[in-house]
């Protein structure tokens, strides 16, 4: 297990995992699209527009999942100075930012026909927008410091400060009176939605998760090559092609 903390071993392992991740992502996406677009019935209030949920909810969940993972990696990087954790933080930020943007845009496309507005300054929407700014701030901070170690430490601190926003996003629909509908799937075992709607939602969520793992490994491999460029294994690795 710990041998994969060594950059070279991790690089090789990630290279072997990504093709499998890509294949599994494709299979899950196809299944999720089929269930979501053809099998799931239209909602009795929202009609066909409810299908936006199958991309909106998984991307919103992922926007928070990636942040929490990044915060965990940031803490590990700060406490134990593990290079792999620093690389993970760096790889997570742009992917997390794009999931956040996707959640906001699909939410807007769902809000317009249902609420009559592309955007409202509602607690859930505002805290998700703050999450996007956090991701962008972290990326800007990383890009502004040349020394990779110092950049990683500064970014990790900002990541950890920003983690307070995650419970705010999660509980915003309970703490404040919002236009955004409350969670539908949080009651484990007795969800408030029908299996024909829940199935595509869960399959799409799995697809997004495996997709994330695949693309984060791709980014981590490139990042590792750069961080380890003076080593013999990188020279051998880039010289091979």
């Amino acid at each position: 297990m710990f041998k994969y903390a060594a950059p070279k071993n991790f690089y090789d392992l990630a290279g072997r995992l990504t093709p499998w991740g890509a294949a599994l992502t494709a299979a899950l996406l196809l299944a999720g699209l089929y269930l979501g677009l053809f099998v799931a019935p239209p909602d009795y209030q929202q009609g066909e527009s409810v299908r936006i949920m199958f991309v909106h909810v998984p991307s919103a969940w992922m926007s928070m999942f990636v942040y929490v993972l990044m915060a965990g990696a940031g803490a590990v990087a700060l406490i134990w100075n593990i290079k792999l954790a620093e690389v993970l933080v760096r790889a997570c930020a742009p992917i997390g930012a794009s999931f956040t943007l996707l959640a906001l845009v699909t939410g807007s496309l769902w809000g317009k026909p249902m609420w009559g507005a592309w955007w409202v300054w509602d607690a859930r929407l505002t805290s998700e927008l703050i999450l996007l700014f956090l991701y962008i701030g972290i990326m800007a901070l990383q890009a502004s410091i040349d020394d990779p170690r110092r950049a990683a430490r500064a970014a990790a601190i900002l990541v950890l400060v920003g983690v307070v926003n995650i419970p705010v996003i999660h509980f915003s629909v309970e703490w404040w009176n919002t236009l955004h509908q409350p969670a539908s799937v949080s009651r484990i075992g007795r969800p408030a939605i029908h299996p024909s709607i829940l199935a595509p939602l869960l399959v799409m969520t799995a697809a997004f998760k495996v997709y994330f793992l695949t693309v984060v490994l791709m980014r981590m491999r490139t990042e590792l090559l750069e961080r380890e460029k003076h080593t013999a294994w990188v020279e051998e690795e880039v010289g091979r092609t």
């Binding site: 527009s49 991309v55 742009p94 791709m218």
Partner: protein, 56 residues
Amino acid sequence: MSWAEFFAMGGYALYVWGAYAFAAAVLALNVIVPLRRGKAVRAALREFHRLQGRAR
């Protein structure tokens, strides 16, 4: 249900297909960008090691 009805999405075609199209673009970009960056970094590092080898 006909295909025309399917694409009409009960009148929500713009919103539903807009959301799915944006999702597809975001997912595709997150594969294309790291692939291109990976290629560029490998080329730059190859050059770096070639110059280092010459200096040795």
